[in-house]
C-alpha cells in the first residue's frame, strides 16, 4: 500500500503523538519511522530516500531547533516542525533556517499533509540536483589539464583565435580541445556548456571585450 520511493521520519518524545502521526501518514500511504529523541534519530541508519523530518520542538535531550542547527550543514531532509505551544520567535527562527513549515499542535490533516508533501518534493528536487551536479563533477574530472584550461576560456565567450593566443597554442589545436570538452561534458551546445560551467561554479575569467587585444 505504502510508497517505497519516499519516507517520513517522526521525532517526538510523546508516544501518543508518534503513534497518531504514524497512523495518519500511513493512511495517506506513506512510510514512517518514528524516533523518541533527537539522538536516536541522529544515530539511526536511515534509508537513502527522498524524505521529510517531522520534528517536535520540545524534546527531552536536544531542542528541535538545536537539532536543526546541528544538521544544517549536512544533506538532511527538509524539516516540518510541530510544537505544543508555538511562539512567534521560534517559528520565525525555524522557517529562516529552512524549515518547510511550523505547525502548532493540534494541527489539521490538510496542513500536515501539505507540508509533508512539499517537504518530500523539495527533497526529491534537491536530491536530483545533487545527482546531476555529481555527474557534471565526474565529467569535469575526466578533462585533461589542458582541456580544463580551455573550458573557462570557451565559456567566457572568447573566440577560438583569442583563446588559442591566450594559451599560446594553434587555433586548430584549440578547436580539438574544445571539441573534446564539449563531448566529455556532454554539452549539446555552447549555451549548454556555459550553463554547466555555472553549475560547477567555474569562474568566467575573461571577457571578450576586455581581453580582445
Amino acid at each position: 500500500m505504502t510508497a517505497d520511493d519516499h519516507i517520513v521520519f517522526i521525532v517526538d518524545d510523546d508516544g501518543r503523538i508518534r503513534e497518531a502521526l504514524g497512523e495518519l501518514l500511513e493512511s495517506h500511504g506513506m512510510r514512517t519511522i518514528a524516533f523518541e529523541s533527537a539522538c536516536d534519530y541522529v544515530r539511526a541508519d536511515k534509508p537513502d530516500l527522498p524524505a521529510c523530518l517531522i520534528l517536535d520542538i520540545e524534546l527531552p535531550d536536544i531542542n528541535g531547533l538545536e537539532l536543526q542547527r546541528q544538521i544544517a550543514d549536512r544533506d538532511h531532509p527538509p524539516i516540518v516542525f510541530i510544537t505544543g505551544h508555538g511562539d512567534i520567535p521560534s517559528s520565525v527562527r525555524a522557517i529562516k533556517h529552512g524549515a518547510v513549515d511550523f505547525l502548532t499542535k493540534p494541527f489539521s490533516d490538510a496542513d500536515l499533509m501539505a507540508a509533508v508533501h512539499a517537504a518530500i518534493a523539495e527533497d526529491r528536487t534537491k536530491r536530483s540536483e545533487r545527482a546531476e551536479l555529481d555527474m557534471l563533477k565526474r565529467h569535469y574530472l575526466d578533462l585533461t589539464p589542458r582541456e580544463r584550461e580551455v573550458l573557462p576560456l570557451v565559456v567566457s565567450g572568447l573566440l577560438n583565435k583569442q583563446a588559442a593566443a591566450e594559451l599560446g597554442i594553434s587555433e586548430v589545436t584549440l578547436q580539438i580541445h574544445r571539441r573534446n570538452v564539449m563531448q566529455k561534458m556532454a554539452a549539446a551546445s555552447l549555451a549548454d556548456l556555459v550553463r554547466i560551467a555555472e553549475r560547477l561554479e567555474i569562474p568566467i575569467t575573461h571577457s571578450r571585450r576586455v581581453g580582445g587585444n
Binding site: D14, R16, I17, A20, E23
Partner: protein, 798 residues
Amino acid sequence: MRDQSGRIVQWYGLCHDIDDQVHAEEAVRRSQQQLQQIIDAVPVRIWSVEPTGGSFYFNKRYQDHFRSLIANFDALGEPRIDDLLQQLIHPEDAPDIQRTLRNCFETGSGSAMRFRWREQDDVYRWAECRVEPRRDDDGTVVQWYGVSLDIDDEVRALEALRERERELSQLVDMVPVQIRRLTPEGEPVFFNKRLIDFFGLDVGDMDRPGMSRLASVIHTLVHPDDASRLLETVHRSLASGDPFSIKYRMRRVDGAYRWVDGRAEPLRDQSGAIMQWYVISVDIDDEMRAQEALRDRERELSQLVDMVPSLLWRLNSEGTPTFFNQRLIDFLGLDIADMEKPGVSRLAALIEAAVHPDDAASLAEALNHSLVTGEGFSKQYRLRRADGVYRWVKGSAEPLRDENGRIVQWYGLSHDIDDQLRVEEALRESERSLWQIVETLPAMIDCAAPDGEPVYRNPQLRDFLGYKLEELDGTGKSRLAGTLDAGVHPDEVAGVKEKYAHSLATGEPYARRHRLRRFDGEYRWVETRAAPMRNAEGEIIQWNVICLDIDGEVRAQDELRLAQEGLARASQAASLAELSASIAHEVNQPLAAVVANSHACQRWLTAEPPNMERAQKTVERIIRDANSAAEVVSRIRALFKQSADRRIQTTISGIIDEARSLMTDEAWRRRVRIGVDVDGNLPLIAIDRIQIQQVLINLIRNGMEAMDAVADDRMIEIRARHMGNAVQTEISDRGQGIEFPEKMFEPFFTTKENGMGMGLAICRSIVELHGGRLWAEKNNPHGATLIFTLPIETKAAS
C-alpha cells in the same frame, strides 16, 4: 825392831828399789799435780763434799769466784753451803737449788740443775750444775762431786732461738697471708691463725671419714664452682712437684665466699726430696670484684659503643680508620680490615666504598681540613648502607689530644638522619605547599589575633582591598574596626560588627554575607567565615578567616536558588504561568493525538475499500487519548476542590510576610524594593493560605515584570486594610501601567513575550472562590494597582 817394851831391838834395813816407786810416786805426784792443775785450770767450777755435808772442796776457779764476790772470803773459814747459795744464786733460783741439793743428799741420787749465779758487777749468768755421788764398794756414798758450768751463752742462745721461733710463729700467724702446710702427700697439717680465723675452723676440724683431709678441706671450704679445679691443680702439683698458683673462692666463717690467690711451693731437703708443701693464699676478693667491676664497666662501655644507636668511629692522627663500632660495621657491611687496598689509604678506600660519589670529594676535603687544622669535623653526606641504599648521615668528629696538645685520635660519630631529613623535607614541602595553598587559594584569607586584630592577609585579600595591613595602624582605630569601617557596606557594617563582637566574645564561628568595598570603590558581595583555632588547652590562639568574593555567583545562584526553592515549595512559589503552561501542555498533547488519529480514522473509513480494521484501531486510540485529556482536566479540578477543604482562619498579614520573603531574592535580582503597609489588628479570615499566597506572588511578580523597562524607582507597595466586612489588599507598581484593566483578566490575554495569559485569570478565580473580588486600577502618574478583597465571613462561591 822393838820389843814389847818398845825398845829397839833391832834395826832392820832394807834397801828397796823404789826407783820405780819413786818414779811412780813422782808420777803420781806429778799426775796429782797435773790433775790439780787440770782441776784448777779447766773452765768449770768443781766442788766436792762429804756425805755428811761436812767439809766442802771448791776448786780454784770456784774459790776465785767466791773471792771476787764475797769480801774476806779467806777469813771466813769454812763456808756454809746455804750461805753460799744465798749469796751466789739468783734469789729466784736459790730455793729450788737448795731443795734439789737436799734431796740429792737425802736420797743419794745425782741431779742436774740450772740456775743463775751472780758474777762480778752483780751480773747473773746461767750455769748448770751436775751433782753425782761417789760410792764405795758397799754402795755407800763416800763423796759428792759437783761441777758447775757456765752455760749462760748457750741458755741465751737458746732463749734467742726460742724468741726467734716465737717471733717466726707470730710472723706466720700475723702476716696478712693465710698459710698452711701440707705433707708431701698433700695432707694439710698446719693452718696459720689467719686461716683459722678466716675459716673459723682449724686443720682437722673438717676431717671426714672415707675422704682425704685435702679433699674434705676443699669440699668444705672452697666454692663448689672452684673445688674440682683446685683439687685437680693441687694433685697435679703434688705429682710433679711444681709450684702452683690458682685463684679460687674460699668460704669465710660468715659463709661469704671470697676470692683468694693461692700459691704453693714445695720445701725440699738436701737430696731434693719434698719435705713439706707451703701454701699461702691472699684474699684478693676486693681486687677481683674491682677487676670484675672494671671488666663489667669495660664490657658495658664496649656494649655502649656498639649499642648506641649511632655510627661511631675512630681515626688515628693521620686519618686512618682504626675503629668502627658494631653498628657501623653492620651498617656498611664492612670492617676496617676490608679497607686494606694496596696503594690506597684506608680512609680513601673507605670513602670510595661507602660514601656517595657526589659527596665523596667534599667529604674528603672536609676531613683533610680537620686533620690538618685540628678543627672539629662536621658534615652531612650520604653513606652507602650494606644493601646499597644511600642514607643521609650527619658526621662529626673531635680530636683527642695528649697533654702536649698533640692530636692522638679522632673520635667520630655519624648519625643517620635520613628519616629525619625526609621528614623535615616532607614537613618543609608540606609547609611550603600549605603556604602556597594559603597564598594562591582563590579565596581571600585573613588571620586574626584572639582579640580579632588581623595579623595576616593573603595576597588575594590585599589585592582586593588595595591596601596593606600596616596602613591601618596609627589611625587611632583598631585594625579590625578600621577594616570594617573602611570596607563593609554602610548598610551592613553595624550587623557585621555586632556579629564579630559576638563571635569574639563567645568563640562561636562567624559566618555572614555582606558587601565589601573593593580597591576600585565597587562594593562586591562576599561571604566571610571565621573559625577559632585553639591550642591544646582550648584557648583561642588565632581566628582564621576566609572571605569569598561571591558577587558573580550571587546573581547566578539566585536563579538556582529560586529554582530550587520553587521545587521545594512547588505549591507555594510555583508561578501560575508555569502551572498553566504545564496544564496546557498536558491537555494539548493528547488533544493533538486525538486530532491526528481522527483524521487517520476518517481516511481509513473513506478509503476504497474502507480499512475498517485500521479505523477501529484509530478510534480506540482516540478514545484513549481523549480520556487522558479529560483526566488532566479533572486532576486540575480536584486540585482546586481539595484546596477548599484546606481553608484555615488566618490573617492576611502573615501571608503577605511569607509572600514577601519568598519574593525577596527575586526582588533583589530585579532591583525592586518592596514596601509593606499593613493595618494592625486585621481580622481573621478563612482562606487557603497557599492559594492566596500564589495570588499575592503572582501579582507581585506581575508588578515587578511591569517595571522591567523602568530605569529606576522600582517599587512594589503592598497595602492591606480592613474595609467593611472584607480585607482589601492592594499591590501597586510603578511600571508602564495597563491599557485594558478588565480584559487582562481574561484567559490567554497577555502582553508578555513569554506569558501564557493564564495567571490573572487563575488569580481571579481563586479570589472569587474565596468569595472576594480582584480588579485592577491605573495609578497616577504611572503604574497599576491590583486590588483584591477577601470577605471576613467567607461564603464559598460554588
